[in-house]
């Protein structure tokens, strides 16, 4: 298949360095302490954060810092073919660990000793880049829950097909057999929190792809920032109305 045509456009009409349309909504669940939905094109992810709360398992309580746990799952209806519920999905477990590890580095865990923060991420629609969408959704949900954090986190993936570095691969491009690198950045501190790839790739290609993914992260970060600011604006408006009525 031709992933980049002669005009330089991809299968879905994007340029190689173009990200999919981003959409986000915060506080989508009433029962969670913080929640958010995040969409990258047709990939849609829902994240819910419970906590910081008292650790449920006394034995695992860390007296010096908070414990961050994550559960990532894909809804049975999320992909093209309806998936049976397996017993334990190894890929999901691995993604859970990656999400928890990425966000734990960003949370000021030492401020919240003996507590536990649970992050539940569910993929509602899968169209590639779920891991990155999950990290972005979880970051928004943590911010919504009021968990103290070091910096903004943004994640984005990039791949390499047809001799071109492509930003934010969709499902079809993901199945193209080329390498894909997922990057999560602390955009203010310029720190890499996560860098994952399943394939071998040469040094030059790697650098090009990582650079592209980092630029994608910065674009996502800007979007996340405006989302957060708009949400705070709505909240303060709501509370000021409530106060004037009281």
């Amino acid at each position: 298949m031709e992933y980049v045509n002669t005009v330089g456009l991809r299968l879905d009409g994007r340029r190689p360095n173009e990200i999919r349309q981003l959409r986000a909504e915060m506080s989508t669940l009433a029962s969670a302490d913080g929640s958010a939905t995040f969409e990258m094109g047709n990939t849609k992810v829902l994240a819910a954060v419970y906590g910081p709360r008292e650790a449920s398992n006394r034995a695992q309580t860390d007296t010096s810092k908070a414990t961050v746990r994550c559960e990532y799952s894909m809804a049975a209806f999320s992909s093209g073919e309806r998936r049976r519920r397996g017993k334990s999905d190894r890929r999901a477990t691995e993604t859970s660990l990656a999400i928890a590890n990425t966000l734990e580095q960003n949370i000021l865990t030492e401020l919240l000793p003996r507590t536990q923060i649970d992050i539940y991420v569910q993929v509602l629609q899968a169209d590639g880049g779920m891991r990155c969408a999950a990290i972005n959704a979880a970051f928004l949900a943590l911010a919504d829950a009021g968990v103290p954090m070091r910096d903004s986190v943004a994640a984005c993936a990039a791949g390499y097909l047809d001799g071109t570095a492509l930003l934010d691969l969709n499902y079809t491009e993901d199945g193209g057999g080329g390498p894909e690198v997922a990057v999560a950045l602390q955009t203010g501190l310029h720190q890499v929190l996560m860098l994952q790839t399943d394939s071998k790739l040469s040094m030059e290609v790697f650098e090009e792809v990582v650079e592209l993914a980092s630029n994608g992260c910065r674009a996502v970060a800007e979007f996340l920032r405006t989302t957060l600011l708009a949400h705070v604006g709505r909240l303060s408006l709501a509370t000021s109305i409530a106060k004037s009525e009281a």
Partner: protein, 189 residues
């Protein structure tokens, strides 16, 4: 001046500001750790060599937490011979986001004739009570008291008909449908 900020945003220099709630120090900068509204608390007149404090607070009001002396609204969940267990729903006028458990011990039900109190004659599971927080209590729950005229049951449903009852005296409530009288420690509202 209010300004909203996001985690990691640099708010000012450590040499010019003191980090307050919702901020942390990274290198020589005071940075935000929360999404919220940034405020500067000016220096107090008396303090010498103090810097103005930078704070970031979430615009939503923080969850109310019961503290001794607060009047709370609670729902009775269980009765034992010695105490009534309750879930605290509101602190003052503000609803709690989290469930706090409280306990009314038998000696805290009413102010007079403490020794002859029978708990089933004072509360029933499901009743809404108004109570005052006595102390932070034990590891599990807050200690509550209803030993005042204005404290006690404010809303109770009758056993027979399941409809809200009308207070008759400080010790009795009546079901408007079946006219049956049940005994409660009624609050004077």
């Amino acid at each position: 001046m209010t300004e909203t900020c996001t985690p990691g945003q640099r708010l000012g220099l450590v040499t010019e500001f003191e980090p307050g709630a919702g901020t942390y120090v990274a290198g020589s900068f005071v940075c935000a750790s929360l999404v919220g509204i940034q405020r500067t608390v000016p220096v107090e007149e008396t303090a010498d060599k103090r810097l103005p404090r930078l704070e970031v607070s979430r615009s939503t009001r923080p969850d109310p937490v019961p503290s001794p002396g607060d009047v709370v609204t609670a729902r009775i969940t269980r009765l034992t011979p010695r105490l009534a267990l309750a879930d605290i729903l509101c602190v003052g006028e503000h609803p709690c986001a989290q469930r706090y458990s409280g306990v009314v011990r038998i000696q805290d039900v009413r102010a007079t004739e403490i020794d002859s109190v029978r708990l089933p004659a004072a509360f029933r599971p499901g009743d809404l009570i108004r109570a005052e927080v006595l102390s932070l209590g034990d590891a599990r729950s807050y200690f509550l008291t209803t030993a005042k005229n204005e404290l006690g049951v404010v809303y109770a449903k009758s056993i027979a008909a399941g409809v809200p009852m009308v207070p008759l005296s400080w010790q009795e409530m009546q079901c408007p449908t079946t006219q049956s009288v049940e005994s409660r420690k009624v609050a004077r509202v």
